[in-house]
Subunit: 88 residues, 2 copies
């Protein structure tokens, strides 16, 4: 397979999955509606993103480091709001 | 840096981010409460995961292929419920 197609697929994938958490963070900040959001998901996901960041730094992989630093900010915001506005 | 530590961080990260969508899918199926979930996020994320899967297959990368096949199922379920039980 043409490596350009493979790399283009990977780059497009990385952009989509990284950027995807921005509209969720914006929605959560605006509405403070976190009832449908899973605390377990964002706890695990934020922890996982933190370790992807560690992996990116340790392996000197700039795209992995950058993408996960961005995702960590968005996921961290959603997790913070989920904990703060948890259904009582 | 010890490559075992680097790989262990990456493996742990991959497990966390892959498994994290399971509790969200279970919660969404059980409660059908999708009001706080962003349609834009799951549309972009599911598309991104599909392209990660394509990237994994094209680059013959088994861990990437497997992790994203699993995530695609969970993300697809959440997206399906978000569209089906959208706030009217």
């Amino acid at each position: 397979m043409n490596p350009y197609i493979t790399n283009a697929a990977g780059l497009f994938a990385a952009c989509c999955t990284t950027v995807s958490f921005l509209p969720q963070a914006v929605k959560t900040i605006r509405t403070r509606d976190t009832s449908g959001i899973s605390l377990s998901m964002y706890s695990l996901f934020t922890l996982g993103t933190l370790f992807w960041l560690v992996f990116g730094v340790l392996s000197s992989n700039l795209p992995v480091t950058f993408a996960n630093a961005v995702t960590l900010v968005f996921a961290g915001i959603i997790l913070f709001y989920k904990i703060k506005y948890r259904r009582r």
